[in-house]
Amino acid sequence: MNLTLKIWRQKNNGSNGHFENYQVEAEEHMSFLEMLDVLNQQLIEKKQDPVAFEHDCREGICGACSMVINGRPHGSQTGTTACQLHMRAFKTGDTITIEPFRANAFPVIKDLAVDRSSFDAIMQAGGYISVNTGQAVDGNAIPVEKADADEAFDSATCIGCGACVAACPNGSAMLFTSAKINHLSKLPQGQVEHSRRVKNMVRVMDKEGFGKCSNVGACEVDCPKEISTDNIAALNRYYLGSVLFGQD
């Protein structure tokens, strides 16, 4: 199939970016990133600068790939990362627009690659249970109701890709942050530090330059792991509890 790609090119964070058009010949069984590989091979053969994009696992789990495809982070297919998209979702003659994730807290590095270290900072503020190696009790000494374990798991599947932030008109990281908090809060092990965790992670989230959540819901729609905005609702409750009423 014949495609026109309209790709955001930006040399580095200090320079201005612009769109450039490219023609590429793809096959339906190719993945989206393999299609970009074909383009880069063409560019390299012409001794031009290949398009920089982040990727690693190419199977939807590492969270590295991060691009906006036709206006949607990871493209329009639900529950799918950019690397899992296949070209059979497109047809010959299509023009595809590809841009980086855009958000205040994700500065562009080059072309489609952005810096998401602000997510690490949120995690460091409390995205853990304080237990040193060797301090654990037997695994079966802490029974967890299956429904709670399943719910914790659903929240824990976040891959830290940042699509939620890119989808949000405010550039908010509430979905990411609330998913981690909810994962730990659903488990008895996570209760002890719950209140501190909520306060600290929310504080760092604000400090890192993420916007406020105004319940738009775009994050859930574009999240490749279909993390639910119920997590956000829960975090709002926890936050009120721990900050306003000082509950632990």
């Binding site: 920089a52 190419r58 939807g60 853990y128 237990v131 654990a136 996570g190």
Partner: protein, 663 residues
Amino acid sequence: MKLDAKIPEGELAEKWTKYRGSMNLVAPNNKRRLDVIVVGTGLAGASAAATLGELGYNVKCFTFHDSPRRAHSIAAQGGINAAKNYQNDGDSIYRLFYDTIKGGDYRSREANVHRLAECSTEIIDQAVAQGVPFAREYGGLLANRSFGGVQVSRTFYARGQTGQQLLLGAYSALSRQIAKGQVKMYNRHEMLDLVKIDGKARGIITRNLLTGKLDRHAAHCVVLATGGYGNVFYLSTNAMGSNVSAAWRSVKEGALFANPCYTQIHPTCIPVSGEYQSKLTLMSESLRNDGRVWVPKTIEDAQAIQRGEKRAEDLPEEDRDYYLERRYPAFGNLVPRDVASRAAKVASDEGKGVVKTGLGVYLDFADAIQRYGKSEAFSLGIANPSAEKIKELGEAIVKAKYGNLFQMYEKITGENPYKTAMKIYPAVHYTMGGLWVDYNLQTNVPGLFALGEANFSDHGANRLGASALMQGLADGYFVIPYTIGTFLADEIRTSKIANDTPEFLEAEQRVQNRLDQLMAIKGNQSVESFHRRLGKIMWEYCGMSRNAEGLKKGRQLIRELRKEFYEDVYIPGTTDEFNPELEKAARVADFLELGELFAVDALDRGESCGGHFREESTENGEAKRNDEDYTYVSAWEWDDNNPILHKEELTFENVELKTRSYK
């Protein structure tokens, strides 16, 4: 060189406990003065860095990824083994030890493997305490499943995302130490060389991948947890960035590389679809618990399927060959990975493959759907369930067990595996070989340690499913925190290591020269195209089935390709900026040397064992091990012309060497 594995004296089951109880310790006030470099943040590196930080060492931790959480461990699917015996089905530390030794085809060290089995139980406890959401039963206790090649249920899992959840657990422990200032984290920093002073590993040279700046990092010792080298085959289930460079640069500084030819080819991966293919996707081994592997009995049917004229459902039972069940009645579809992979190759080579390229076999869930559907109808009290009802109920059960894998398959292939049989083919998945280490996980270079997939130590010639996660975490949480003391206890009087000594400056210059050399080639072919060609040579001559003639030819072809690379590779951009092509070039350059060593090792090992199958060494079509001549670890010293072999003889005091039989 005499290789000393430093295995402690005493009874097998007591070695680790006694050793741990009597080794030299480093006092807390001294730990504060000692610097440790950890390279890698996968399961092995993140767990090691976090634990060493908790103990009070000053840790500097490095990853080429943009965040520790993206290490390749994140992709592991199926599960992690532990000898908990929660299912009361006869599991024990000894049984896990025995299964691992046997699964590894008697090419690993008894003492290491026993220690691994001992540590396995603590890993589960630790992960649960961190909040890893393992699968649970309705009673709230941990669930288990049986996994590839063993007869007990000892595998713990978190749906099909066990590696992700375990890594996020280790990453959270690491994040906590970073927040406390015990670990200083360097993301997007790639180690490009090892620095030795007076024979000891004292630091590394890194490149900041965002700016291209080279830095000299000094410490009292260096721990590598940099993963496996499966990408020497270009196409593998490894992440695109996985590479051998940290280990290989250490080899250039004198570390030995052990058993490079031991590669695991995983039987259940999605077949290659075209020339553009960039990586292969694993379908978890757990699928073989319920899926049945088959090909058509006749070549005619296979050809009709390859041309797209027939589908799996069109073939009646009597025209199908469930070849694993036929050849290995005792284990059937659950034979170990190496056996299943070779059998798929044999079937495809006979012309019975079921995809366009001819390289693929079926993995069929139709029977499982029927079986589960009927039993579910029975338990729901449905008297005469219709065929549709059975199918519906059965599909629901299969979905609950494998839903995310089926979804992944459909995304990639565009086919619905509930309706038509999956197609699979073996792909390179895991490398058992790696840096040679002793019982302390120390390489032959004092102060240089290697953990996780980067070392060679525990899986012999073949790794059992769900054992890599176990090994990575055992190494990081429970072994290195102790054994690093055997080196550091003698270093408490060594003051801070300076990073501006001649050794550091020279190493930095070496790296700069190498990068400049690569940039200066300014040829015409892309890095990727060389990597692809290397992969083809490896797969053709060093793949699932190897022979002396092919290995010699493969070695020659790799040498020629390496020469061509240094004459004609083209790398755009400059060294002092974000330049992914330059990163790849440096990695592919190292693969072009490792690939040769791989062929040399495979040629030296004239027996078939585990993942290494030599056509010259078979009996009735099955692999034939040769204990008389090859019960050793091959530890290689690199030399451009003739790598030098050092042998570590393996001795077995507790298990009797037997022919693996799954018939």
